[in-house]
């Protein structure tokens, strides 16, 4: 288990972290949600031992040589080296094998092409993120900490990265902590969510539970839905391709059943949860 307990950090600019506690278990994916400047990166740096907290402790129960692999803020790569040479440098400094076979294996694991020989400064952000993850995974860490891994990625890149993260958690039993200010991406892949605001942990819980407790709006896409009777009681807002309704999560099943009874063919129903809701309404 990776446990950061009652962590606080103050800089001259103010209090960045205030009595924050997080806990990561192998094989599970955790999300840390927060606006820019909420204290996410500082928390990650403390968990990884890059900076010291003013108060609180970090304890890691890990049987492997490297307990935590991480990318914080951006993947730090040598821009003048190619992907394999970057891996070789970081493997070499830990005394790991640098042979071609191992390097190829690491590149393939994160879905990077093995035939690119040009410097990584030419790589797209998605490829840099993948190489950063490959480096973080060197020496087989028990936990992986990824700070804003979806930044700069297109939707295909995001989907592909989520797939990789899930594979690492489920197949390799790595405990993963992700941060983002993008709600949708985190709710798609995390078992558990932490919400941080102005350095304080303002909300936490299992993702499905948080959604159930906080969700108040749904986007429903369906043919002829604008005229449907079932949604009229839920303040429908008609959009180009969907209708947004305001209703508690406990009632959505009933609404959908009524729509189907009216003969409406539903193609999608997406909960719309905002970060603000999670920040302003902590779970009871």
């Amino acid at each position: 288990m990776l446990l950061g307990e009652k962590l606080s950090k103050t800089y001259s600019s103010g209090n960045v972290l205030d009595n924050v506690t997080v806990q990561i278990v192998p094989g599970q994916i955790y999300g840390l949600l927060g606006r820019n400047g909420a204290g996410k990166s500082t928390l990650f740096k403390i968990l990884c031992g890059l900076i010291k907290p003013d108060t609180g402790t970090v304890s890691v129960q890990a049987a492997r040589a490297k307990s935590i692999g991480a990318i914080i803020e951006k993947p730090g790569l040598y821009p003048y080296l190619n992907a394999a040479d970057n891996l070789r440098i970081f493997a070499g400094i830990q005394g790991l094998s640098q042979d071609k076979g191992h390097m190829t294996q690491h590149l393939m694991k994160v879905g990077l092409p093995i035939d690119r020989k040009d410097p990584v400064r030419n790589f797209s952000m998605g490829m840099k993120q993948r190489l950063g993850i490959a480096i973080a995974l060197l020496n087989d860490p028990e936990y992986l900490v990824l700070d804003e891994p979806f930044n700069g990625l297109d939707p295909i890149g995001v989907a592909s990265l989520i797939q990789l993260i899930q594979q690492l958690a489920f197949t390799d039993r790595i405990g993963i902590l992700l941060s983002s200010h993008l709600m949708v991406e985190l709710t798609k892949c995390c078992h558990y969510l932490y919400v941080i605001d102005e350095g304080k942990m303002v909300n936490a819980g299992f993702t499905h539970q948080l959604i159930q407790d906080h969700i108040q709006r749904f986007s429903i896409a369906a043919d002829n839905i604008a005229a449907a009777q079932a949604i009229q009681a839920y303040q429908p807002v008609i959009g180009m391709n969907d209708v947004k309704i305001t209703c508690p999560a406990s009632q959505i099943t009933t609404v959908l059943q009524q729509l189907m009874a009216e003969g409406i063919r539903i193609t999608a129903c997406t909960p719309e949860l905002t970060l603000e809701q999670l920040i302003k309404q902590p779970r009871a």
């Binding site: 900076i51 790569l77 003048y80």
Partner: protein, 276 residues
């Protein structure tokens, strides 16, 4: 530590700026050669006109040994500047690219990491001095040939060709100690400042101040011995008729001692510092 040093060497060799630095040193040498070729002869004629009537000098006085002496004089400001830029970059580039975080997120000891950087900075400095000595030596002796060396230090000192060659070799070795001091200073400044441009400015300022204070007399003999700017031109001691070996060893030992203290301070600071 060995693997960290090897990684630093690979990184240094893979960066184009390393070769730009060596190219810059060579270009400066060439410019000094051209200047010496066109102006040296005329200056020597004026200086030695009367002496030539009374003494016999072997070969022409505008020879490889004199050119190497001029190179030595000309390079003690330009070369440390280049060395300081490259050696501080060994650390500041890691901050800029974020690779310092990536490295320290691996199973790597902080002290060994910065220690390896100091080792490579020292190695690179020695390599530059060796490169400078070999390249300027080959060029100087090929173009200007060998001959007696005449140097003006308080008075005119004359050295036979073979003796001059040895003295120049020792001067390069002694100068290398001063260069090591500068490279250690720039690395330590990089530990404190972290940012490349600011570290360059601080390094250049340090170099300028050191050069300005070189001739400052503190008035107390013992203070002069330990005042580091006055230790920088110890290499000149090899161009007096009698070499004061005691002074040469003492000055260089003190300078090396300062270097070791700065390394200790840099490693201590780095270990204490937060990263990021």
């Amino acid at each position: 530590m060995k693997t960290l040093v090897w990684a630093e060497i690979v990184k240094l060799m893979k960066q184009s700026k390393t070769y730009y630095a060596l190219g810059a040193v060579f270009l400066i040498e060439c410019l000094i050669f051209i200047t010496a070729y066109y102006q040296g002869s005329a200056i020597l004629d004026v200086l030695l006109d009367s002496l030539k009537q009374s003494f016999y000098f072997e070969g022409t006085l505008l020879n490889g040994n004199l050119i190497l002496y001029i190179v030595l004089n000309g390079l003690w400001f330009n070369v440390p500047l280049i060395i300081m830029i490259i050696t501080s970059g060994i650390l500041t580039d890691e901050y800029k690219d974020g690779t310092i975080q990536t490295t320290l997120l691996q199973a790597v000891d902080k002290g060994s990491f910065i220690g390896a950087k100091y080792v490579v900075a020292i190695g690179f400095t020695l390599f530059v001095i060796a490169f400078m000595m070999v390249s300027s030596g080959i060029l100087a002796y090929t173009i200007f040939g060998k001959g007696d060396l005449v140097v003006y230090l308080q008075t005119l000192n004359f050295f036979p060709a073979a003796d001059a060659f040895q003295r120049i070799g020792w001067a390069f070795a002694s100068g290398a100690v001063a260069m090591l001091f500068y490279s250690v200073v720039s690395m330590t400044l990089a530990v404190w400042i972290k940012e490349a441009a600011k570290t360059w400015i601080a390094s250049a300022l340090f170099l300028i101040i050191t050069n300005l204070l070189l001739k400052l007399d503190l008035g107390i003999a013992i203070a002069n011995h330990f005042f580091f700017p006055k230790l920088m031109d110890t290499w000149q001691a090899f161009f007096y008729h009698e070499i004061d070996w005691g002074l040469v060893w003492l000055n260089n030992t003190i300078l090396l001692g300062y270097g070791v203290c700065l390394i200790g301070l840099g490693v201590w600071t780095f270990r204490k510092q937060d990263i990021g």
